[in-house]
């Protein structure tokens, strides 16, 4: 099935290329198609389904990342929190790929939110944190603690509390 999908995809590309070639001779040259670099491509494949292709999804259901993700770089606990999230730590990516992806999420997708002078993630930092994914904890309570510290350090991050508040209305007595 997969193989067939790929073959069909390739056929479609060949057709596209052929018609583009045909068109190019008849009309003015077309602009080239955008090529995604690794981090945005990995984001789309592994994260965009939940977080939305532009880092905004259904509010209150999945936290926004656009213009917001970098706030977590305000504190050490915030830095570690985002790397220990299961969807991040378990990503089927190498540590260099995941590091590049997380820096893209913090600084490009989250543009404007990282505090001045925030350090990008290093591979060593990502490698260490992804081996300690959240397991036997109430993630809702843990996030609330992290967000309290982050908003104390960076008051402009107040919007981070919205997701936790929305989640609390759905869950029942979710305490550690």
């Amino acid at each position: 099935m997969r193989a067939r999908g790929v073959v069909q995809g390739v056929c479609a590309l060949v057709l596209l290329a052929a018609s583009a070639f045909h068109a190019a001779r008849a009309e003015a040259p077309r602009p080239t198609l955008p090529v995604l670099t690794h981090a945005p491509a990995n984001y789309l494949l592994g994260c965009g389904g939940c977080h939305g292709i532009g880092g905004m999804s259904r509010q209150g259901t999945v936290p926004d990342l656009r213009g917001q993700a970098g706030y977590f770089l305000c504190t050490d606990s915030g830095r570690r929190y985002v790397l220990r999230l299961p969807n991040v730590a378990f990503a089927n990516l190498t540590t260099p790929q995941l590091t590049e992806l997380m820096n893209y999420v913090m600084f490009t997708l989250g543009a404007g939110s990282a505090p001045k002078g925030a350090r990008p993630f290093t591979e060593a930092e990502v490698e260490a944190a992804r081996h300690e994914p959240f397991g036997a904890v109430s993630l809702q309570a843990y996030r609330a603690d992290v967000v309290r510290d982050v908003t104390t350090a960076c008051p402009q991050a107040a919007a981070l509390t919205d997701y936790g508040a929305a989640l609390a209305t759905r869950e029942v007595r979710n305490t550690p």
Binding site: R2, C50, T61, V62, L85, P86, N87, A89, F90, N92, P133, F134, G135, A136, V137, S138, L139, Q140, L167, R170, E171, V172, R173, N174, T175
Partner: protein, 389 residues
């Protein structure tokens, strides 16, 4: 659509019969016997039998069959994304449902319905937090063996478990299970969930409904040879058989600190070349929508098998292989009359085996001989539940 059309045909057939009755000649009418007015009664079901089975039918219901006679006993409403379960005492059916006020949008409601297994009357509805929605995923919901608790998997998309007190008829709590999914109940006192790093999260639930979560180290390779979400369990013993796509079986005694056995392999136990993760490695492999069933009385594992490469774990099977789970040996191979997507087995000493095609049929077989006793052709879906009394 097909269902609507069919019932309209039935209504038309009845109208035609009525018309021809009226148009009879006077003399023919005089010869007719005087008809007695019908007394309508409400039928009730006998005590639940191990030989009942409950396949999903069409896309809006589950239908209860007597496996011995292949006759219909009743119907329960439940669509593709609901979850059904028998209470361990056989007295109640539970169906978890999700609805939107305007069909496919609008305010959402999730609730657990309880039906009396004797009258099929709806006796209770318990409000739920948003549960995970997946087409026919039996492992989304299960009950504790004492019938006190229901455990429902949530994915909002943050993952967690809703614990429901069935006696009190209310949700007692949500438990976060970060990165972990589905419900594999213990013999008593809790459940485990499968995690995306190849480990298990274990949720102990005490008599008051308080929960305590523990975690084990990864034991399977979630990226390269994951276990089936449809891995079968022995509810009475609290044992799960976590089976990977290549057929490695991890017999696991579930609990706060689970014991995970050394794996054995379906292909090797059958004297076949060991199935690998090779995309060109054609070998016997398990596959389907509900590819396994465990028979508690005989400790036998039933696996729906096909020949294929790695990543064909959803393909239909043309044989059922039956294993002794103590000796790790193949006992028999049952050739199916048609390719099937799901299997189920009854839990008594003389088990019936059910095999479901992807096209609406169910074969009811003698599990010991593989002899087909009945073929039911009635829009049967790819999964069926059997009571574990």
């Amino acid at each position: 659509m097909a269902g609507l059309r069919k019932s309209r045909w039935a209504a038309m057939a009845i109208a035609a019969a009525g018309l021809s009755g009226v148009s009879g000649t006077p003399s023919a009418r005089a010869a007719q016997p005087v008809l007695q007015a019908e007394q309508s009664t409400v039928a009730t079901l006998p005590t639940m039998s191990s030989h009942w089975f409950l396949p999903a039918t069409g896309s809006e219901s589950y239908t209860l069959y007597n496996g011995d006679t292949a006759q219909i006993l009743g119907t329960l409403p439940g669509d593709l994304i609901s979850n059904a379960a028998f209470s361990p005492d056989g007295k109640t059916f539970y169906v978890a449902v999700t609805m939107w006020a305007r069909g496919d949008h609008g305010p959402r409601e999730d609730f657990l319905r309880a039906y009396d297994a004797h009258t099929l009357a709806l006796v209770k509805e318990i409000e739920l937090p948003p549960r995970a929605l997946a087409v026919y995923k039996i492992q989304n919901m299960d009950l504790s063996q004492d019938g006190h608790w229901a455990y429902i998997f949530d994915m909002s998309p943050a993952t967690g478990i809703t614990v429901i007190d069935l006696k009190a008829g209310k949700v007692v709590r949500t438990v976060d299970t970060p990165g972990c999914a589905l419900v594999f109940p213990w013999k008593s006192g809790g459940l485990s969930s499968l995690c995306g790093d190849g480990s298990l999260t274990n949720v102990a639930v005490d008599a008051s409904g308080a929960a305590k979560v523990s975690h084990v180290a990864p034991f399977f390779d979630a990226n390269n040879d994951p276990v089936f979400e449809q891995s079968p369990i022995d509810r009475h013993a609290g044992i799960a058989f976590f089976i990977t796509y290549t057929g490695k079986v991890f017999e696991t005694s579930l609990g706060a600190t689970p014991t995970i056995g050394t794996p054995w392999t379906l292909s090797a136990a059958a004297g076949q070349p060991v199935a690998t993760t090779g995309v060109q490695d054609v070998a016997w492999r398990p596959g389907g929508k509900e590819p396994f069933a465990y028979q508690r009385a005989t400790r036998q594992l039933y696996a729906l098998m096909h020949m294929g490469t790695y990543w064909t774990h959803k393909r239909e099977g043309n044989e059922i292989w039956v294993y002794d789970t103590t000796a790790h040996t193949l006992l028999r191979r049952i050739a199916l009359p048609a390719d099937c997507v799901g299997i189920a087995v009854s839990q008594d000493q003389h088990p019936l085996l059910y095999a479901l095609t992807g096209e609406g049929k169910a074969f009811v077989m003698d599990a010991a001989s593989g002899k087909v006793l009945h073929t039911i052709d009635a829009r049967i879906g790819g999964i069926a539940l059997t009571p574990d009394l």
